[in-house]
């Protein structure tokens, strides 16, 4: 086996071929290193489990091989076998993965839709999916310019079709020229197409008022969630009290808890302050990290701004405080900024972590490690189906960057149509170009409708006794607090359900409205919430809100 190949295969498996068994075992125990002591950087090389996870006790090697099927005799006398993969032998971390946004409520919603289509009588005519932030499923119209360019890229023969504006054609040509074989069907580099990364960098410079951005720090991803998962994979290591802990807000977007469970990382909750419009308190971050240090090694702090499901928009001051805190506690910052264009409330403005960081003193600007995530799925685009996204990585160790590229290369490359769309999002039509007017008209219409719906939702919900809703400053959801009577709590507990799950399930059965219970996102003990998107068209949203109102009143009456 050649030397290069030896590097590529697991070093252990190669030793297997080239050395005696005892020597190999010695080599394995020698590879042991304690994981996760914070050094100058919170993320240093090598973080992957293949290279950094400690070898195990030698004694266990002579023990019975775990996970092998037990052979058993079948009735007809032929040796048959038990399954290789069972609940007992499967990766235990996978068992902990839950995903509330697509949980039992959604399953029931699907069943109800089927029952309705089979003609079964229900107290409602249709199921309204207000559970997920999928704009197009809610009737939001795609941006014409984006779709025209993507259609041209898909079937370039349309370039001779006179109904497509000239600027869509020139943009399509530019994208196709940067694709292998001039086709979106070719693989791109695993970090993403060069010209797209350059356009993303220019966008960030414009967005952040001239703060520089290096295209080499831009990684295109399969939606933001892929980027978040990849970064977490790089960060998680260690065992026992050195196991990586990751701080996440509560309430949180369940992608985080699911990812941490899947990776076997320790979830460190910090609570957002509902009384102060879901704002982030540094004292609460401090409390959370202090407590966590007793049992794990906190290495990362996740921030969702604008918030999901809570809709708050962080002030510049708050971001600065968070950065100082991250520096002091040596935490890698992960800024989920996918709702950056969804800011509605007066006096609120989106500040990127990158900008704030670069405008701080060099001791912060040059050291604090940051990953910022964005995607094509939210904002005025709402194109979830294309799985476009990027992350910008700041102050990361060069060797870790190599590992990151390796992790990304396992998926070969992000979907090329998603990359093309990301390019259009960061580089939209300019004044004077044929598509400009329509583009601005469509974007403004979508964003102003969202602003109006954010306000409407807050107003209507706050008229209901027993529901209180913070202002929806940004993002796409309201996360109102609901009062659930003791009697209902008791009934839910008897059923083995969370009280707000019980509430939402009942709402679904009676009204056809599909919401996500607050327990799926995490909430302070004894408080109950639900998440509802503000995406339905205004007239439909009004009806929806009224139905929620009526249901809540009925529910209170029934259980008091």
């Amino acid at each position: 086996m050649s030397a290069t190949r030896m590097q590529m295969l697991s070093s252990r498996s190669v030793r297997l071929l080239s050395r005696g068994r005892n020597e190999m075992l010695a080599g394995r125990s020698g590879a042991q290193r304690p994981g996760g002591d914070p050094r100058t950087r919170s993320l240093t090389c090598p973080p992957l489990s293949s290279s950094s996870s400690p070898g195990r006790a030698l004694s266990s090697l002579s023990a019975t091989r775990r996970g092998l099927p037990k052979e058993k005799m079948s009735e007809n006398g032929i040796m048959s076998r038990a399954k290789v993969l069972t609940i007992d032998t499967m990766n235990p971390t996978v068992k902990k993965v839950e995903y509330a946004v697509r949980g039992p409520i959604v399953q029931r919603a699907v069943e109800l839709e089927r029952e309705l289509s089979e003609g079964m009588k229900k107290p409602f005519a249709e199921v309204i999916r207000a559970n997920i932030g999928d704009a197009h499923a809610m009737g939001q119209q795609p941006i014409t310019f984006f779709r025209q360019v993507l259609a041209l890229c898909s079937y370039p023969e349309l370039l001779s079709d006179s109904t497509f504006p000239e600027d869509t054609k020139s943009r399509a040509c530019r994208i196709l020229q940067s694709c292998g074989g001039n086709s979106m069907g070719s693989y791109s580099a695993s970090q993403g197409i060069d010209s797209v990364r350059q356009d993303v960098a220019s966008y960030i410079v414009r967005r952040d008022g001239g703060v520089p951005c290096d295209p080499n720090n831009i990684y295109l991803t399969t939606g933001a969630s892929d980027g978040i998962m990849t970064m977490l994979k790089l960060l998680v290591c260690g065992e026992g009290t050195t196991r990586t802990g990751v701080m996440i807000p509560i309430p949180q977007y369940p992608l985080y808890s699911a990812a941490l469970a899947e990776l076997g990382a320790v979830q460190i909750n910090y609570f957002l302050n509902e009384e102060k419009c879901w704002s982030l308190d540094i004292t609460e971050l401090q409390r959370a990290v202090n407590e966590a240090r007793q049992h794990c090694n906190p290495r990362a702090l996740c921030i969702i701004n604008p918030g999901n499901p809570t809709g708050q928009v962080q002030s510049r001051q708050c971001i600065e405080d968070v950065i100082r805190f991250a520096a002091k506690e040596r935490l890698f910052l992960m800024a989920d900024e996918v709702y950056q264009d969804n800011v509605y409330a007066e006096g609120c403005q989106f500040h990127s972590f990158k900008k704030v960081l670069f405008e701080m003193e060099p001791e912060y600007a040059e050291t604090v490690e940051l990953a910022s995530f964005h995607s094509t799925s939210k904002c005025y685009m709402g194109e979830c189906g294309f799985r476009g996204g990027y992350m910008e990585i700041i102050n990361m160790d060069d060797e870790v960057k190599d590992q990151l590229t390796k992790l990304l290369s396992v998926r070969l490359c992000p979907p090329v149509p998603g990359q093309a769309l990301m390019d259009l999002v960061v580089n939209p039509p300019q004044p004077g170009e044929p598509s400009y007017d329509t583009f601005i008209k469509e974007r403004t219409a979508t964003l102003s409708a969202l602003a109006e719906k954010a306000k409407l939702t807050e107003q209507v919900l706050n008229t209901v006794q027993g529901i209180s809703c913070n202002p929806v400053q940004g993002a796409m959801y309201s996360f109102p607090r609901i009062t659930i009577p003791e009697k209902a709590i008791k009934e839910a507990t008897e059923k083995g359900q969370q009280p707000d799950m019980f509430y939402c399930m009942k709402m679904l059965e009676e009204t056809g409205i599909c919401l996500v219970p607050g327990s799926g996102f995490g909430q302070k003990d004894g408080t109950y919430h639900f998440r509802m998107t503000i995406l339905p068209p205004t007239d439909k949203l009004k009806i929806l809100l009224n139905k929620v109102k009526e249901f809540h009143q009925r529910f209170i009456q029934q259980y008091s």
Binding site: T4, Q7, M8, S10, R12, S13, L16, R21, M24, P46, S49, S51, R56, L61, R65, R66, G67, I78, S80, R81, K83, V84, L85, I87, M90, N91, P92, V94, E98, Y99, D134, A135, H136, A137, P142, L150, A151, L158, G180, G181, G185, S188, A189, S190, Q191, D194, T222, L255, E262, G385, R387, D402, T405, K406, V410, L412, C413, P414, P415, V416
Partner: protein, 476 residues
């Protein structure tokens, strides 16, 4: 690193330290040369011919018109009313949009729309001569490597001691090996037999399994059929032997069947593991656990940029299936355009449809691939067993001790040295065998044979000339 470096790294995966990856040096050099050529530097050739990728469109294969027309109409629905597109394309786009909520491809859906999954299960059933395929056992993902990663994630217990082991072929493309080690498992190599046209031999599986004793706990066997990079296509008998072996040894079968539509060798036939398993009957058919992977990236679609593939799972514990469902839905969704391509691949135009004649022209490429496979056997210094399928030729270089010595002095693997020379002097970019693993003392190159279909006769002769000349020069 320059981005172009990454561009090549991405297909073959990367080593623990990418700086040491020899192919990286080759790829960067290729980019330098391309840049020089653009600036007018004179060489024997006007452009670099890149045959290092498993990427049809990059190699010059044109996307299928029907597929691209439907995708364009789905992306921009006003085209559905346009007379510029054939009727069946417009109807198909209408139908595809009907399966998307909100009638938009911008809508995401988790682990596949039921209509598309249904098309896939019908496709599998047709392929396997009527053996049923259950839609609930099929999951769509953003490419087959994504599915492989998810299934490995369920199989590999990163905290287990000894570590989980997975048997992998050598030579093998690197991506899956990186996934396996990345999850904290150990790869256990089994060597394919070059003497027998890269056949997979059960005795070798046995040896590999023995070698893992006391080192790791092998739970799965990874097979690539048709092979990458070897082009070996397993016979029905060979597939049956592997299934028996997996059954006897308690191994989960991970079968990469992405080249199933590219089988063209004489007497070669693609027999899916699913079919062979089912036809073997009890006790095998009801017990051996199997994951079969396929995608839109290869075959006649070659749409690797869309990132779409599926896995069919057979004989899995229903309790485990629940967790697999959660894993696939956590990925949010795979790209919708890719899912539509998957639907078009598995439910193509039928005879009588306006798009059928054009769609049906896919056979010509295969004929050419067949001719290529026989080509290099007769060139001095090179040998290549007949290729059964896949996209590649994995050509053996018979290098002399002297040239091997020379490469080592330069700090390069002998086959990397050869590739470097071929690039410098012939303008052809291939990948060295050391990237895939090979028996000690043997040297190879891999290249994508599809591109030759699109090269002129002069270009082809030129490649032949350089490949030949190099072995002679390097061998002297």
């Amino acid at each position: 690193f320059g981005s172009n470096h990454c561009q090549y790294v991405q297909e073959r995966g990367t080593t623990m330290s990418m700086k040491q990856l020899e192919y990286g040096a080759l790829a960067s050099r290729a980019n330098q040369i391309k840049e020089e050529l653009r600036k007018g530097v004179r060489r024997h050739y006007k452009e670099v011919i890149d045959v290092s990728w498993g990427d049809s469109h990059r190699a010059g294969v044109k996307p299928l018109t029907f597929v691209r027309q439907v995708l364009a109409a789905c992306v921009y629905p006003p085209l559905i009313n346009s007379n510029n597109l054939p009727l069946d394309v417009r109807q198909r786009a209408q139908k595809q949009l009907g399966t998307c909520a909100g009638g938009s491809v911008g809508k995401g859906y988790a682990s596949g729309v039921s209509e598309i999954i249904h098309s896939i299960s019908e496709f599998i059933k047709r392929r396997d001569g009527g053996i049923p395929s259950q839609p609930e056992n099929i999951y769509i993902s953003a490419g087959s490597q994504w599915s492989i990663g998810n299934i490995l994630h369920v199989l590999v217990n990163s905290e287990a001691s000894p570590k989980t082991g997975v048997l992998i072929p050598v030579p093998c493309h690197i991506t899956t090996a990186v996934s396996i080690t990345g999850l904290g498992a150990v790869t256990v190599p089994y060597y394919l037999s070059e003497e027998q046209a890269w056949a997979l031999q059960v005795e070798e599986l046995q040896r590999a399994l023995e070698s893992a004793k006391g080192v790791c706990n092998p739970v799965a066997l990874y097979v690539i059929n048709p092979g990458n990079p070897t082009g070996y296509v397993q016979s029905r008998k060979s597939v049956q032997e592997v299934i028996r072996f997996a059954s006897e040894k308690g191994l989960f079968l991970l079968v990469d069947e992405v080249y199933q539509d590219s089988v063209y060798g004489e007497n070669s036939e693609f027999v899916s593991y699913k079919r062979a398993l089912s036809e073997m009957g009890p006790p095998f058919s009801g017990t051996v656990e199997l994951a079969s992977f396929h995608s839109v990236s290869k075959g006649f679609l070659g749409e690797c940029g869309l990132r779409s593939g599926y896995v069919e799972l057979v004989n899995l514990d229903p309790a485990v299936m629940n967790y697999i469902q959660t894993l696939f839905s956590k990925d949010s969704s795979s790209p919708v355009l890719g899912q539509i391509a998957l639907d078009l691949m598995t439910d193509p135009p039928k005879p009588g449809d306006p798009s059928y004649p054009l769609y049906n022209q896919v056979g010509t490429l295969e004929l050419y691939l067949l001719r290529t496979s026989q080509h290099y056997v007769n060139l001095p210094g090179l040998s290549c067993p007949p290729i059964g399928g896949g996209f590649y030729a994995f050509v053996r270089l018979h290098l002399t001790p002297k040239s091997i010595q020379k490469s080592k002095e330069l700090g390069l693997q002998p086959d990397t040295f050869y590739c470097m020379k071929l690039l410098e002097e012939g303008g052809v970019l291939t990948t060295p065998g050391c990237e895939y693993g090979q028996k000690e003392g043997t040297y190879h190159i891999r290249y994508n044979t599809q591109i030759e279909y699109y090269l002129s006769k002069e270009e082809k002769l030129k490649i032949d000339y350089y490949m030949q000349m190099l072995t002679l020069v390097l061998g002297s």
